[in-house]
Symmetry: C2
Subunit: 200 residues, 2 copies
């Protein structure tokens, strides 16, 4: 025992644990990155769910002269259907990644390295959500302003509540896109700032 | 223990096998990544420029009964104006990043590390291009199919050449979005596969 070069406590004769190397100093930012990652994914889930609910519940029936009762609903426009599908996919995806990220923090069921692969799919989901927001936004703008060049009439002057729902849904979806941008930035940042890695 | 030169696992006390000499093998892919990066950015520039040119040149005049000669042009729709602006920004951005990436390969005027920061802006440009493609696509689809629920008539049955230009432009823009996805994937991949870096 005395021949070993492990330091011992003079009072109790117990081995003093060797000083920890400096790796733990780099560990907390990595853990914080995962906490921030989960927080952003929860925000993404909330935003996607809210956007879908607001869009789907935006139904309005109006009495139009000569035409009778006419209903406006999201499924009357292919762009809004695409929007609902895309945001539903984003919501489901965020739910899966929340569970995976949380399991990494609580218990390493998934490898942390495995989570890096989510960065690849985050990029695809950003493309999906951004295009869906653009698509629904483009059609909603025609509904709001009309287009005199091709004779497309304004719709929002008649269906006011319906258009408010669409506008709200689009705003939340834009927020979801921003959250996705931050998620990808966080992945790039955490990969870039890994400790003791040589510069690229 | 400290004097031995074989590293041991602090948790299990087992000897860690000596690291495989893969470091020299990992260096050439880093250079190849930059070559691929430049190639993708050249593709992005070509796609953005082509999309803008096809969209802007898509002008058609038709004789409409009772209304006389009516012209269809991209600037009659705010969605198409946004598309042209977004793709022009993407084209200009790709031109700047081509110059920066090429300067890294030929002569390290810019730091290679500096180029990693382009990954952050690539994400923004992807959001911009995807939303512009979605926006123009949503409006173009209304032009193609009309919307009987709100009485928006089809336009493409009259302005055939104009709509062909828009469809072509949208296809090229979709290709630009895919190139941007690959660019961001390449950045994540090159950051993830850096030699001798510890796992996240």
């Amino acid at each position: 025992m005395a021949s070993t070069d492990k330091p011992t406590d003079p009072e109790h004769g117990k081995e003093i644990p060797p000083p920890k190397p400096e790796v733990p100093a780099a560990a907390p930012p990595a853990v914080n990155c995962f906490v921030l990652d989960v927080a952003l994914r929860v925000l993404l889930f909330a935003a996607a769910l809210t956007a879908v609910i607001i869009m789907v519940t935006g139904e309005q029936t109006k009495l139009i002269p000569l035409l009778g009762n006419r209903k406006a609903k999201f499924n009357h426009s292919p762009a809004f259907i695409y929007f609902v599908v895309a945001l539903s996919v984003a919501g489901l995806y965020s739910l899966i990644t929340i569970l995976a990220s949380t399991s990494v923090i609580l218990k390493p069921f998934f490898s942390k390295k495995f989570l890096v692969y989510f960065a690849y799919t985050d990029v695809l989901i950003l493309g999906l959500v951004a295009s869906a927001t653009g698509s629904a936004g483009g059609v909603a703008y025609v509904g709001l302003k009309g287009n005199k060049h091709v004779g497309w009439i304004k719709v929002c002057s008649t269906y006011d509540t319906y258009c408010q729902h669409i506008a709200g849904s689009l705003a939340v979806s834009l927020f979801a896109s921003v959250v996705l941008v931050f998620l990808i930035w966080l992945s790039i940042f955490s990969l870039h700032r890994r400790p003791s890695a040589p510069p690229l």
